[in-house]
Amino acid sequence: MRMVSRKNKDRVARWLSLAITVLAIIPLLWIICSVVVNGISAINLEFITGVPAPYGESGGGIANAIFGTLIINAMASIFGIPVGILTGMYLSEYATKGKFSSAIRTSVESFSGVPSIIFGIFAFTIIVTNVRHYTALAAAFALGIMMIPIVAKATEESMRVVSDDMREAAIALGVPKWVRTVKIVLGVARGGVITGSLLAFARISGETAPLLFTALFSFYWPTGIDQPMATLQVLIYNFALSGYQERVLQAWGASLLLVMLVVAINIVVKIVTRQKYKEGI
């Protein structure tokens, strides 16, 4: 009798958790499906190679925004990833139990929870108001700062789990500490560092608020990194609210490209992580 009731409870628990999981996934699938369904018809050769058509004219593309997102992300990465790695390296290998180290650790942790609009206003205040025009550099600065805590945390955690056996092996060979840290500990931890950097890249690829304060938008090809620059995120925001049906459709198309970029990064992360475990660290 008891046995039957226990089996029934098991069954209920299993079906309940499955049902709720499905329920939770529905909105996610819904979003992806509507992005694909609405976006796919916008995508054609002109869409991915041309610049936006003037208001009132049909056609045109979003190539300048694709390019702009990639340029700003690349500039943010050039700044954010090295700083993040060095911060993580400090926290893992050099930080003591003192106040200074714990202040850094706390600020890195709380930084990752700060809303992105704050970084936008920050870059706006110290860069845009000084040069008196919107600039892609300010956008890269804001997004780069956002990458730092993500990369730093990933670096710190993956360097920490590197066995002390590795550090001792390097010490016993008479290798100076900084070489040990960079070539051995960071080298062994590189899978985690790459993963963290890619996730940070994916994270900033979706940020819009900081861009509205910094790179703003442009209907043309970028003329310089110190000028306003189109991005997919701001293009979606502008076009979706434009009221023109064709622009709304193009916003869907841009959304699809952005989702594809993020999904592609996550697939690369999966591959990198799998390799990391294969090496048996």
Binding site: S163, L173, R180
Partner: protein, 255 residues
């Protein structure tokens, strides 16, 4: 060997502490070049601390201290030499094989030279081959030189680590129970290797296995509670130990 008056290592009055706890008490001994010295004794007797004082690794943990004199070829390693240089002259092989998984087999062998930028690429290749041959690993890994050092079997990894230590051309190689994590066949290979190593260098090996000490060493040092109880030729130690403690330990009555 007996009539060699030159000492490779001359240790006198060596004390070592972990914080307040004294782990070595007044250890003095002399080791002749091109010999194998086995260090035996029960767990916690200071064996590891002892060898870690010879390459200055004991002092790395904050709070640890060392006092006494350690002369390597007549030079005080605690006074006249930088700790990094000491470690380049005194190699170490650990209990658990620890090749660098982010480096290939051949890069592992030359890791020390490469990381301090001490040789050209051509030289490094030759050094890798020479030392893989010296540890009898060349034939087994000849075609896998570019694979990760972590892809080898445990016994191969340990020989790779010995090759890595040898590549620095050390005056002394310290081994901290190098076979305790290995299967019997791999253990036998390492034991044979240790016997050949003394043609080139001086070996100090910690072992939990007294039969292993008897098989491979010229000299044996027995430690107990941080003190060097008895030190002498291995045969003498095993056939007629002076101290009853030594006798009880090697006959397996404690430890």
């Amino acid at each position: 060997m007996d009539n060699c008056t030159y000492e490779k290592l001359d240790i006198s009055g060596l004390d070592a502490w972990f914080g307040d706890k004294q782990a070595l008490k007044g250890v003095s001994l002399r080791i002749k070049p091109k010999t194998v010295t086995a260090v035996i004794g029960p767990s916690g007797c200071g064996k590891s601390t002892f060898i870690r004082c010879i390459n200055r690794m004991h002092e790395l943990t904050p709070g640890n201290r060392v006092s006494g004199v350690v002369l390597l070829d007549g030079v005080d390693i605690y006074k006249s030499v930088d700790s990094m240089d000491v470690r380049r002259k005194v190699g170490m092989v650990f209990q658990k094989p620890n090749p660098f998984p982010n480096m290939s087999v051949s890069d592992n062998v030359v890791a020390g030279l490469k990381l301090i930028g001490a040789a050209s690429k051509k030289e490094l290749e030759a050094v890798a081959e020479e030392n893989l041959k010296a540890v009898g690993l060349w034939k087994e890994v000849e075609n896998d030189l570019k694979k990760s050092g972590a892809s080898l079997s445990g016994g191969q990894q340990q020989r790779l680590c010995i090759a890595r230590a040898l590549a620095m051309r050390p005056e002394i190689i310290l081994m901290d129970e190098p076979t305790s994590a290995l299967d019997p066949a791999s253990t036998a290979k390492i034991e044979d290797l240790v016997k050949t190593l003394k043609a080139e260098t001086t070996v100090i090996i910690i072992t939990h296995n007294v039969q292993q000490a008897a098989r491979i060493s010229d000299m044996t040092a027995f430690f107990y509670l941080g003190e060097l109880i008895e030190y002498g030729e291995t045969r003498t130690i095993f056939e007629s130990p002076k101290s009853p403690l030594t006798e009880r330990y090697i006959t397996g009555r404690f430890g």
